[in-house]
């Protein structure tokens, strides 16, 4: 037994030495590190950001390696509980070219049990990419059987529009300051054709809702009210306005219904809600 342990230790030390030597050789010869080496560097606090910067332009080969790294890092306490892992950041920096592969992986893990952290990390990456990822987020929300993942996917769409008002808290004007950059038309154009699917999700989740459960129908209703027209918008408002107090959960962020209520009735009004009977009087 003792001899076995000694052997394992010697072999381990030798392998470690080979790896370090190989890296030194790479560095000395000016050879660029391999994609595998860069992705492995995501796991080290002091090299994680450098790795995300290098992977930004590394091409499709990096995406599959990063997708394999996501479940390893996702949910790892305590640093990565926010679902912002180095792998997620690297995928977000690659941007639009990474959407199909993320979407494909998400389609698989959204249906598996025990993959909630991975699914939420992938959803985070899609949301960070921008309006181009809206179809993939709606697809993920439709496909998953897990309410938290659906909630997360829909909230990422809500967050794409910069927040201009904060309900119930007196933040200074600098808190909601943003330099002029209007992505509203892009969000509208991409999301509008998908709103019937969001409405389906709202109806499905409304039927299944139980006290204390997460409420993915809340961001769904917000999206319908904010971006829809006619009957679809009316359905969103109908759900959002009269019963907003009944299902508010403090763990949900952002709070779309509160924002909606403020946008309809508060001083930071950004669109007119008065055409719907469900909107309460000022």
């Amino acid at each position: 037994m003792g001899r076995l342990l000694v052997t394992v230790a010697i072999v381990g030390t030798a392998l470690c030495g080979i790896t370090i030597s190989a890296r030194r050789v790479n560095a000395q010869q000016g050879t660029p590190p391999s994609l595998t080496t860069i992705v492995a560097a995501l796991d080290e606090e002091r090299t994680a950001w450098v790795a995300t910067a290098r992977l930004r332009t590394a091409g499709p080969g990096a995406v599959s390696l990063l997708l394999d790294a996501v479940p390893v890092q996702a949910g790892r306490p305590p640093r990565y509980q926010s679902s912002w892992t180095p792998a997620v950041l690297a995928l977000a920096k690659i941007g639009v070219p990474a959407i199909p592969a993320i979407s494909e992986r998400l389609a698989r893990v959204a249906l598996e049990s025990g993959t909630q952290f991975e699914a939420q990390a992938l959803v985070r990456a899609l949301g960070a990419i921008g309006p181009e990822a809206i179809p993939a987020l709606v697809e993920a929300a439709s496909r998953t059987n897990f309410s938290p993942t659906r909630l997360s996917a829909l909230e990422r769409i809500v967050e794409l529009e910069p927040r201009h008002v904060v309900f119930g808290q007196l933040f200074g004007p600098w808190s909601v300051w943003r330099a002029a950059e209007d992505r509203t038309p892009e969000i509208q154009r991409t999301l509008a054709p998908l709103l019937p699917r969001v409405l389906e999700l709202l109806n499905r989740d409304m039927a299944a809702w139980r006290p204390g459960s997460v409420a993915p129908e809340r961001p769904a209703a917000y999206l319908l009210a904010r971006w829809g027209g006619g009957a679809i918008r009316a359905r969103g408002l109908e759900f959002s306005m009269p019963i907003s107090g009944a299902r508010i959960s403090t763990r949900q962020s952002p709070d779309p219904m509160s924002v909606l209520a403020n946008r309809c009735t508060g001083e930071g009004r950004v669109w007119d809600c008065t055409d719907h009977p469900a909107v309460p009087p000022l």
Binding site: R23, R24, N26, A27, P33, T37, I38, A41, E45, R46, T47, A48, W49, V50, A51, T52, A53, R54, R56, R79, Y80, S82, W84, T85, P86, V88, L89, A92, K93, G95, A128, G130, H164, G172, P173, W174, S175, V176, W177, R178, A179, A180, E181, E267, G268
Partner: protein, 178 residues
């Protein structure tokens, strides 16, 4: 430091911004007047506030402040220009890498990295000779790339969102990948 740090300003600018956000008539014109105020603080903060409605006018104003006689104001104008996606703020950040105060050099390193996405070394805790080599490397990079460089605003915003889970500048040395 980066996009995740909200700006602030003198009370008069803050008030004008609040009015402008609420759609009060004449508030934007008031912000525009801030740009010609005698107080540099009002001009700088006014430009940032105005950028929510008129980005080109804000950038024009901040660019003129780059020739201010005081370095602190030039640096602030540079920071705000980068925040608005204008590359004329980069040389000031490179200059600050050599600052004797480590915290200033560290912020400069952070901002340089997020706005350029260049994984070049700029660790402020290294010995002076290594720091000098690193900042010289950044100067050389800027000489080569200044004409074609565009500020990586989207990536900088992502870095801001991911901080502190992923920190652009580590407090531990040797941030290179062999």
């Amino acid at each position: 430091m980066g996009l995740h740090r909200p700006p602030s300003g003198p009370a008069v600018v803050t008030l004008a911004l609040k009015f402008a956000q609420a759609g009060v008539g004449g508030a934007r014109e008031l912000l525009a007047k801030c740009l010609v105020d005698s107080d540099i603080q009002v001009r700088l903060a006014g430009a940032v506030a105005l950028s929510a409605f008129d980005r080109p006018a804000a950038i024009r104003q901040l660019a003129t402040e780059l020739s201010n006689s005081e370095r602190a104001y030039r640096d602030r104008a540079s920071d705000y220009l980068l925040m608005l996606g204008d590359a004329r703020g980069i040389p000031s950040l490179i200059e600050r890498l050599d600052d004797p105060f480590e915290s200033i050099a560290r912020f400069a390193c952070h901002d340089l990295r997020i706005y350029t996405q260049q994984p070049r070394p700029c660790d402020p805790s290294l010995p002076a000779d290594q720091r000098a080599r690193n900042s010289s490397g950044w100067r050389e990079w800027w000489r080569t790339n200044a004409q074609t460089f565009r500020v990586m605003s989207k990536e900088a915003e992502l870095d801001g969102a991911a901080w502190p889970s992923v920190a652009p500048v580590s407090f531990r040395p040797a941030e290179t990948i062999d």
